[in-house]
Amino acid sequence: MADYEIPDELLYSREDEWVRVESDNRLTVGVTDYAQQQLGDIVFVELPEIGLELHPGDSFGVIESVKAVSDLYAPVAGTVVEVNPLLEERPEAVNEDCYGDGWMVVLEGADAEPELLSAQEYREHVEERGD
């Protein structure tokens, strides 16, 4: 299996998003190294308006590679309080630094739901799906 970076301190969704708990009430969300490798060159990211209320599984935006358009799914419930302005100018930041500069949104009023996966559980989820 190819080498995918899966930081231990993050939580993950089955839709290949990562979640970082910033405080009790705020979470940062992005897509994982596995996701950005599967997608290839990212050329466009569409992020939501500040204030959008999300339920788990709601689409909160779109990520486009050269060939394909994919939805981004809210891993938890919450309200969008920040979106990453860098991604409008440099969508490739998702490829280059998906856990850092490539962050996508900050959600508030969110719980890290029990449905989120640990790093180990996410690694197993990636391995199940093969390369």
Partner: protein, 367 residues
């Protein structure tokens, strides 16, 4: 569902780490590293493609040339040996069966290089319309086809064969040796950059491909997949069957009038094309560049003044131009360069404007 077929280079692609995808019934490499990097490798240096999935249909015999003349939209009899032309197979309705290149190999022989998705359809079409002694033969499975494209392509071929290959003129071909194997080499391609297509015995294709990659290292060669093949041909304004062209589309709608010998007629579809021309075009193919925030993709609607007026047939980010581009059909009165249009991207009108094709000027000797 039948199993996907493989070209002779399947194992080579896996060995190179390619992401394989199904295309026209074949498992083909979408990309090896990055579509954008592979695209720029062709524009800046040289790239090598496996296009062995495409078909080769040969005609040889007393009626070969006359049969081809009656099937192809370009003159055949007057095409001299050693020359290749781009043309269309058309149906009786004036639609396009396939777009092909055809090579005059002898007084009584030629072959067509056809789209992979249309091999069966084209063989049946040609066989049902050609004379019995046209000697039609489908040699797709025994033929490997590679493309070498980019400004350093002649330099690369000179390293694995006779240096005189660099002198080969555009739309000419020659039989020669490459990496010690027999090859028919034409100065043709589907990228808009200078380049060559190499017709090989299927069994020789892996060796020649691997030799091109190793000998091409000092030139910065890269293997290039179908993802970049599509972005390159789009920048060059070249149509793709199934997107810009299909059984219902007239060549004139698709901007291919210069590839149709309408004044001479004598081929299937000539009368219908002329009738449709005389009735007046209802739509025409244009190129466009996207000015707003969004990427146009095949199937997205085109709007103007709040009404839907057309459709995108191909669209992608252009690595060379740094903006999204596309091809699509609009009414003729919206086709002048500079005309503003909207591309509907997920319900949002994204501004665009009509531009001349090709989007990226051909960079080839003699062009």
């Amino acid at each position: 569902m039948s199993e996907s077929r493989r070209t002779p280079l399947y194992d080579t692609h896996l060995h190179l780490g390619a992401r394989m995808v199904p295309f026209a019934g074949f498992e083909m490499p979408l990309q090896y590293t990055s579509i954008l990097a592979e695209h720029m490798a062709v524009r800046e240096r040289v790239g090598v493609f496996d296009v062995s999935h495409m078909g080769q249909i040969h005609l040889r015999g007393p009626a070969a040339i006359d049969s081809a003349e009656s099937l192809l939209s370009r003159p055949v009899a007057s095409l001299r040996a050693g020359r290749v032309r781009y043309g269309l197979l058309c149906n009786e309705r004036g639609g396009i069966v396939d777009d092909v290149t055809f090579y005059r190999t002898a007084d009584d022989a030629l072959f067509l290089c056809v789209n992979a998705a249309n091999i069966g359809k084209d063989v049946r079409w040609i066989c049902s319309h050609a004379a019995p002694d046209a000697g039609v033969r489908d040699r797709s499975d025994e033929t490997g086809l590679l493309a070498v494209q980019g400004p350093a392509s002649a330099a690369l071929l000179s390293r694995i064969g006779d240096a005189s290959i660099a002198e080969l003129g555009r739309y000419r071909f020659a039989e020669t040796q490459l990496a010690g194997r027999s090859a028919l080499v034409s100065r043709t391609g589907y990228t808009g950059s200078d380049g060559f297509e190499l017709y090989l015995a299927a069994g020789d294709a892996p060796h020649v491909f691997e030799t091109l990659l190793s000998e091409g290292e000092p030139l910065g060669v890269a293997p290039v997949g179908l993802g970049a093949r599509d972005t390159l041909r789009l920048e060059a304004g070249m149509p793709l069957y199934g997107h810009e062209l299909d059984d219902d589309t007239s060549p004139l709608e698709a901007g291919l009038g210069r590839f149709v010998k309408l004044d001479r007629g004598g081929f299937i579809g000539a009368e219908a094309i002329a009738r449709r021309r005389d009735a007046g075009a209802t739509r025409t193919l244009v190129g466009f560049a996207v000015d707003g925030r969004g990427i146009a993709r095949a199937g997205y609607e085109i709007a103007s003044g709040g009404s839907i007026i057309g459709i995108v047939t191909s669209g992608a980010p252009s690595p060379t131009l740094g903006k999204p581009i596309g091809l699509g059909y609009v009414p003729p009165d919206h086709s002048a360069p500079g005309t503003t249009l909207d591309v509907m991207v997920r319900g949002r009108a994204v501004p665009a404007h009509v531009v001349e094709i090709p989007f990226v000027a051909a960079s080839r000797p003699g062009s």
